[in-house]
Symmetry: C2
Amino acid sequence: MSQATITSVINGVDVDRLGATIQAVQQNTSLATFQFRAKNRWITGGHNRSTIQSFYGAGQEDTDRKKPFVLDSDEPPVLFGKDHGANPYEFVLHALAAGLTTSLVYHAAARGIHIESVESTLEGDLDLQGFLGLSDQVRPGYKEIRVHFTIKADASAEVLKKLTKLSPVYDIVSNPVPVSIHIEKQ
Amino acid sequence: MSQATITSVINGVDVDRLGATIQAVQQNTSLATFQFRAKNRWITGGHNRSTIQSFYGAGQEDTDRKKPFVLDSDEPPVLFGKDHGANPYEFVLHALAAGLTTSLVYHAAARGIHIESVESTLEGDLDLQGFLGLSDQVRPGYKEIRVHFTIKADASAEVLKKLTKLSPVYDIVSNPVPVSIHIEKQ
């Protein structure tokens, strides 16, 4: 007997493949191990450039990417840079926006929740007294980040909020991540 | 009597202006208040796009940027995307690399330490069992991030490491940041 193959795509996500992946990971948890990577090179002043290409995941090195993503970061003139790119704190906001949105869309797809549109605005409060070492009472990083989503979808705001908060980036920003730094002098 | 003006630039950073800014902030701490922003729009699946332009800082809205920085994020095929950009977890690594490097370069300049070159490689370990909700024992975010710097500069590895760790992004990733999420249904 021949079998018809129907691919279910919800929110642009192939939910059949997502389901098969979840089953495969349940049977072999090592498939869930990923290592992401970035290389960065200083150019001058606040200007530096990352290249991002290879990663390990699902049991093997990924070879799909034929060329790297190239990302420039710089500071604006008021922070002694030349605006060759968004600054590092703005990249944190982008990473968070992208992570929350992707988590929402993927987890909604897995639950059969259809999403029509998602927009978000993010604000982060930074007091430079911390970075400049002018006060021990002020942390160098963001004091607070506020995210405002506008979403068209067939689920309640409470459910949608819960799905955003499953994001790895939400965890990374909200909770401590151990960062080890090794310096090799040339 | 006329005065000669000598601008001191170290590591591409105008240290005279940096020193004047630190003095100004010491006299009026409200100048250290910055608010950075991002807007994000979902496209489909894992693909979404941030625009970053305006920010508040040094007592006023910044108007130097005539057009926004546009950043695309997506997942690779193995994670059900189409690789239209680095993924959110890779953007975290870029933000961290850029932040550590900028902190090193700026704080070195303020101390008269000359830097010739800075390169870094970053690795982050992510176990997708957390994101997929398959284990309560596995966090969704990075378990650990390792940063390896190769630096040519006239200071010890210990001093250089200390300067990287003054970065706001190091603080954001290493320590908890409060993130508030508000959902508006359309």
